[in-house]
Amino acid sequence: EPEVTQTPSHQVTQMGQEVILRCVPISNHLYFYWYRQILGQKVEFLVSFYNNEISEKSEIFDDQFSVERPDGSNFTLKIRSTKLEDSAMYFCASRTNSEKLFFGSGTQLSVL
């Protein structure tokens, strides 16, 4: 079965550094998402991306965050200057026109 692939599985960075989290959505999917989950809390929506542009974003997705689909396969989340509170599991997800959302296995970001 096709999968959403995320790399790396674990990223450690120093506060103030830039990080890029990478995702390869399922190839025929059209809608792409980033979610995050702070340890012990619920999964929160960050941003959705469709037709090469952001379609929706949450209050969490401030100017420090950006997304890109640089080629036909990758979908990246960049955090420009990381803060301690950015430490979380970040999930990429994708779907076709169906509402069924497929999640990647996540990248655990630790900001020290």
Binding site: E56, E99, S105
Partner: protein
Amino acid sequence: AQTVTQSQPEMSVQEAETVTLSCTYDTSENNYYLFWYKQPPSRQMILVIRQEAYKQQNATENRFSVNFQKAAKSFSLKISDSQLGDTAMYFCALPARPPLVFGKGTRLSVIA
């Protein structure tokens, strides 16, 4: 605004027994989907089952089934013949704006 409420933070069940996890939601939509996601200790998000609101028949996937009460806005998950591998966090989710609103989750422990 769409909301999802899971009122049971933790539950436990004996192996081979049946357990039901509760979820209530609020939405102004008439046609929508509801999902249950499983998050094992690996923290991957795995779709367990989904229900289409316009279908009266409750969805079933092997040992997993739902009790969908549209008028009451209730969407509970029943796990039959519980197995140790069912130990996980379970999240109820509702497609919304922003996409997919999650409940806070229920931590299920299956005891041998």
